[in-house]
């Protein structure tokens, strides 16, 4: 039998969801373990024995010097690095607070400041080259399963490049933007979640980050304006999971 691939999961600053979501794969995690051996995953194991990873999954934003060191270590010791989750791919919520880091720290921790080295939160992709980026806050766990299986079989995984809207159509969900006038970012957000929030009759809040390319943020902006949402509201909504530059 061929040797198993070495898999490392590295957590930078985040909510833990993208790491936790791996454990939520249940039996599928055991399928993955047919091909991979986990040698670093501090949420799940006390073992830490890797110095080389065939695949490294990195979740979270770079928000401290520790995060940056860990990211570089993961990059330097891995063949294939996946930025996993919107924190890692787009910065997600903590990176969307736009103020100088000193001011933010002062507002939170008071005048004494904080001697630990905090950095302005940024996604992994801004610091290192990644081999694959899988967004989602958190990502859809079937997607990560597929990606890991593809890599194990030597296939380059495919990145989804269609909006959430398409998945609503496929599921035949009623359009909440048109029918209910709810602010829904489905038209300009990376698909791949199977439009799960629209299933609850609610608008997509854009947790998979903005879909580049063909989409039309200006059109979305006009629609929301027509529905009566003010500028500030729309801009904030757009920028919640990524510092979107329209």
């Amino acid at each position: 039998m061929m040797d198993k691939l070495k898999l490392g999961v590295f957590e930078l600053t985040d909510c833990g969801g993208c790491a936790l979501n791996m454990l939520f794969l249940y039996e599928k995690l055991f399928d993955i373990l047919e091909f991979y051996e986990i040698t670093e995953f501090h949420m799940a194991t006390s073992l830490s024995e890797g110095n080389h990873y065939d695949v490294a999954l990195v979740t979270g934003t770079v928000s401290t010097q520790r995060d940056l060191n860990l990211l570089k270590e993961a990059r330097n010791h891995s063949e294939y690095l996946i930025a996993l989750g919107t924190c890692a791919t787009h910065g997600s919520v903590q990176a969307s607070v736009e103020r100088p880091i000193r001011e933010k720290l002062k507002a939170v921790y008071g005048d004494e400041g904080n001697p630990m080295r905090a950095l302005d939160s940024k996604p992994v992709v801004e610091y290192v080259a990644v081999d694959f980026a899988l967004p989602g806050c958190p990502y859809d766990k079937n997607e990560v399963y597929q990606v890991l299986m593809d890599i194990a079989k030597g296939i380059e995984p495919v990145r989804k490049d269609y909006p959430v809207c398409l998945e609503c159509k496929l599921n035949e969900y009623e359009c909440v933007l048109v029918k209910k006038g709810l602010p829904c970012l489905g038209p300009i957000t990376y698909g791949g979640c199977n439009a799960v929030c629209v299933r609850s009759g609610l608008g997509c809040i854009g947790c998979r980050g903005p879909l580049p390319g063909e989409v039309n943020p200006a059109g979305e902006y006009e629609i929301l304006k027509d529905l009566g949402y003010d500028d500030e509201y729309i801009v904030r909504k757009f920028k919640t999971f990524a510092r979107w530059e329209p």
Binding site: L12, C15, L202
Partner: protein
């Protein structure tokens, strides 16, 4: 001399500790929360209230629903909105799903490897596969409830001020009723297993919880009746940690499963209550390690309570009507029992429905001082007695007993 504990494993988030030794004695302990700051209050400031609970959910994945519910409660109180029993029961059901998911994760995947001497549950599974499967079954059930109430396993957006995007269906509730009954056997077995753990860590002297079992209007402690957190709990910044530290009347205190049982055993369901009585003497000692046993008893409580709620909702039928929410200027605090203990969301909202002040205090921040006290006492007992490796192992277990959620703890702000 300083003994460094490397970054904790089998806990949520990034933290470590330093044990300061002087003249051959343990002098001090610093619990360092090294997870970067996440600025949630700044994120929500100026936002429209409707979007806030979905963002606050992102504070923590293991207990996202506790955050959305606490946020929704804070917002509703600020507007003077009252929801009918149906909505309250569905929310409670969601919180129970979360308790099951979180406690099962903690007990079976994070603590059980210590009990059996393995580095993790995956490697433990070869010999104790049955047990790991039981844990996963409980966890998966909890998660199904989270999907039903919250919309997704992690970071769903279904819980809204005034109600829900989508309501549970009859079939879903029938399934909850059936499965909760079937799983009870496993939870009772967990109680037997975790009752064997030895006492370690400090003995807590103060306990704090919400006045209802899973949420409340106010807090209660072992010493006095209801109070608002602003009256008795103080927060301060530490130079070595991205989480602030809270004290109750100046002293370390404990929130979580053990405090809940000790303060609110009267509200337990029948079997859970029996089990509590059976282990009462032990639990009453207040050793933080018994938090594990308390969590196991809460698995039983959660299953019984989920069953009751499903039955009640099926009997009454679901109306699925949201309460209209009209923004007005106001202030409100939401108190929820997250799986790890008291969670506080405090907001002021302006006349247009925008957040003008926000303060969030999480269980791990509330327990920070208690964790340091526990490490100090445990290290004091073991230093010079046990070899260093054994001591460090036990200290890690001591931290783990709190089931700390570090990601949650790093974003407190007073504005």
């Amino acid at each position: 001399m300083i003994i460094e504990l490397r970054e904790f494993t089998r806990v949520e988030g990034n933290g470590k500790a330093e044990i300061v030794i002087e003249d051959g004695e343990v002098k001090d302990v610093r619990l360092k929360i090294i997870e970067g700051p996440r600025f949630f209050e700044l994120l929500t400031l100026g936002r429209h209230y409707y979007d806030v609970p979905d963002l606050e959910a992102r504070i923590c994945a293991i207990c996202y629903l506790s955050h959305s519910v606490a946020s929704v409660l804070g917002i509703e109180r600020a507007f003077g909105v009252e929801v009918p029993e149906e909505i309250a029961l569905i929310r409670e059901l969601g919180l129970i799903g979360e308790l099951l998911e979180s406690h099962a994760l903690h007990l079976y995947l994070l603590v059980a490897p210590d009990v059996f001497g393995y580095p993790d549950a995956i490697r433990m599974a070869t010999k104790h596969g049955e047990l790991v499967k039981e844990g996963l079954a409980l966890k998966a059930f909890g998660n199904r409830i989270r999907v039903m109430v919250g919309g997704r396993e992690i970071h769903g957006i279904n819980v809204k001020p005034g109600g829900f995007g989508r309501y549970p269906t009859v079939e879903e509730l029938e399934r909850v009723e059936k499965e909760s009954e079937a799983l009870l056997r496993l939870a009772r077995r967990a109680v037997r297993l975790f009752a064997q753990l030895e006492p370690y860590g400090a003995q807590a002297r103060h306990f704090v919880a919400t006045d209802g079992y899973l949420w409340g209007e106010k807090l209660v402690s072992d010493e006095e009746g209801e109070f608002h957190y602003t009256e008795r709990i103080e927060e301060r910044s530490l130079v070595y940690s991205f989480a602030k530290q809270s004290r109750y009347k100046g002293e370390a205190f404990f929130v979580g499963a053990l405090p809940r049982l000790l303060l609110k055993s009267g509200m337990l369901t029948p079997t859970a209550k029996r089990l509590f009585e059976e282990h009462r003497e032990k639990l009453k000692t207040g050793y933080v390690s018994y938090n594990n046993l308390a969590q196991a008893i809460e698995l039983v409580y959660s299953l019984e309570r989920a069953n009751e709620i499903a039955k009640t909702l099926l009997d009454r039928g679901i109306e699925g009507e949201n309460v209209p929410v009209e923004p007005r200027e106001g202030e409100g605090i939401g108190y929820v029992e997250a799986p790890r203990g008291v969670l506080i969301h405090h907001y002021r909202i302006d006349g247009e429905g925008k957040i003008s002040y926000s303060n969030i205090i999480t269980p791990t921040a509330l327990n920070h001082a208690m964790m340091e006290t526990s490490l100090l006492e445990e290290a004091g007992k073991l230093y010079g007695e046990a070899d260093e490796r054994a001591m460090i192992g036990r200290l890690e277990e001591t931290v783990r007993a709190f089931d700390p959620c570090i990601s949650c703890s790093v974003h407190l702000v007073k504005l």
